[in-house]
């Protein structure tokens, strides 16, 4: 990878967080902390509120109570542009080629277009760079979304089912990407049903989400 720089350290402190969808309270009184170079895995059954929690952390949803504090942010920059969000939706335009898709996001996120090729290589899509993204399979689309995530070069990663639709190789790929992200000092929160094969278990924390109905 060409992303040699160390990411500026960010940490996260969540206290007393509560969230509801409609009438249903998904979780309340949630407290946790994530330190730089650490990942927190969110565990819980379907509908427990993992995605909702990630949306709250990403600032895309308002929690009903509690506070979310990211520390170490650069006051000169817009706070949102610290976050790399990988959600269920791919945000890939099917009529653009892989390179065009990434070039667009590189421009919008003000990163150098020279990093597009290494990013595609990192997710194993380099041979398909000139193909329309509409021809990709679900797993390949996911890989492209991962390429955009590493391309946007953010210290905070919020990942919703990062291994969804991926094959066994893809699972290892995601684990490898997260490892190198943590190595560079980044932090991450991920909702996942599977154990990621991360190399250093000391950096991994698990947080069960949801309460019994």
């Amino acid at each position: 990878m060409n992303f040699a720089t160390i990411l500026s350290p960010r940490s996260l402190k969540v206290s007393g967080l509560a969230c509801r969808r409609g009438e249903r309270v998904l979780f309340e009184g949630l407290d946790f902390e994530v330190a730089p170079a650490e990942i927190t895995l969110l565990r819980g059954p379907n509908g427990a509120g993992k995605t909702t929690l990630l949306l709250c952390l990403a600032g895309l949803m308002r929690p009903t109570a509690g506070s979310i504090n990211f520390s170490g942010r650069d006051p000169e920059r817009r706070p949102d542009s610290d976050i790399g969000f990988l959600g269920h939706l791919s945000a890939i335009k099917t009529r653009l080629t892989l390179t065009e898709n990434l070039r667009f996001w590189a421009a919008v996120n003000e990163v150098s277009p020279a990093l597009i090729e290494p990013a595609l290589e990192a997710v194993g899509l380099a041979p398909l760079a000139g193909l329309d993204a509409g021809h990709l399979s679900a797993g390949q689309t996911r890989r492209l979304a991962l390429a955009r995530l590493i391309l946007s070069d953010r210290p905070i990663w919020l990942l919703d089912e990062p291994t969804a639709a991926l094959d066994a190789d893809g699972d290892l790929l995601v684990a490898g990407l997260i490892d190198s992200h943590l190595d560079r000092g980044g932090m991450a929160v991920a909702a996942t049903h599977y154990d990621l094969a991360l190399k250093n278990p000391a950096r991994v924390k698990t947080l069960p989400i949801g309460r019994r109905p």
């Binding site: 949306l55 990403a58 600032g59 895309l60 949803m61 308002r62 817009r78 949102d80 542009s81 976050i83 790399g84 969000f85 959600g87 269920h88 939706l89 791919s90 945000a91 890939i92 335009k93 009529r95 653009l96 065009e100 070039r103 667009f104 996001w105 421009a107 919008v108 996120n109 003000e110 946007s152 953010r154």
Partner: protein, 221 residues
């Protein structure tokens, strides 16, 4: 600035690759103009007198038709969610969408006006004034449309609400647009109407990205 151009370029590229959209709008525009003679009779003098109003209404209706597409695809594929974390501000993104939308919906109509001019028995100088008034006035329509589309973006079936929201806002544009073309108002009046319309366009294009960005920030999934 680079991100702004990239977004405009992406929207134009997508529109030309998917194809059809701009052409459908132009066809609709021409057809609205073409059915009017059937409704009010083929008298050339009446038609020529009503032509400015007909052109503006046709342009207005076709632009409203395309409004829903302004943010819809970006919401559906999740791009909007990522725009909120982009280094480019949502205000810039709204502005880029506005510019791209004008290029895709208003410019083709202006290029297609000669067809309407023939159908409605316009003379050459009226046609020139029509083009000028559309060029000056349509940015305001797109700016209001951007606000309407941003406000209704979270409604899954919001396709018809945005037009209803922006219709009242657009009335001044229509009034000045038509009086800038109409021959019987006199040179001074039409110049003044054009200036008023330019003022509305400039103010609305300058302010609407901020309002649209505010609305987009409130979207919750």
């Amino acid at each position: 600035m680079k991100g702004l151009l990239a977004l405009i370029g992406r929207d134009l590229k997508l529109a030309t690759r998917v194809g059809g959209d701009a052409l459908t709008l132009v066809l609709f525009f021409v057809m609205v103009g073409a059915i009017v003679p059937f409704a009010i009779g083929p008298d050339r003098e009446t038609l020529a007198r009503l032509a400015p109003g007909i052109v503006w209404i046709a342009a207005f209706l076709s632009m409203i038709l395309g409004l829903d597409r302004l943010f819809r695809t970006d919401v559906e594929d999740g791009s909007l969610m990522l725009f909120r974390h982009a280094a480019l501000s949502l205000e810039s993104i709204s502005f880029a969408k506005l510019v791209a939308h004008w290029l895709l919906t208003a410019l083709p109509l202006i290029i297609a006006t000669p067809i309407l001019a023939i159908l409605l028995a316009m003379d050459f100088s009226t046609w020139l004034r029509t083009v000028l008034s559309l060029l000056v006035g349509t940015p305001a329509l797109v700016a209001f449309g951007t606000i309407g589309a941003a406000v209704t973006v979270s409604l899954r079936r919001g396709g018809l609400i945005a037009p209803v929201l922006i219709l009242p806002l657009s009335i001044p544009v229509l009034i000045f647009g038509v009086s800038a073309i109409a021959a019987d108002t006199g040179a001074g009046t039409s110049a003044a109407a054009l200036l008023f319309m330019a003022a509305i366009s400039l103010v609305s294009v300058a302010l609407s990205p901020f309002i649209a960005a505010l609305a987009l920030r409130l979207v919750e999934d």
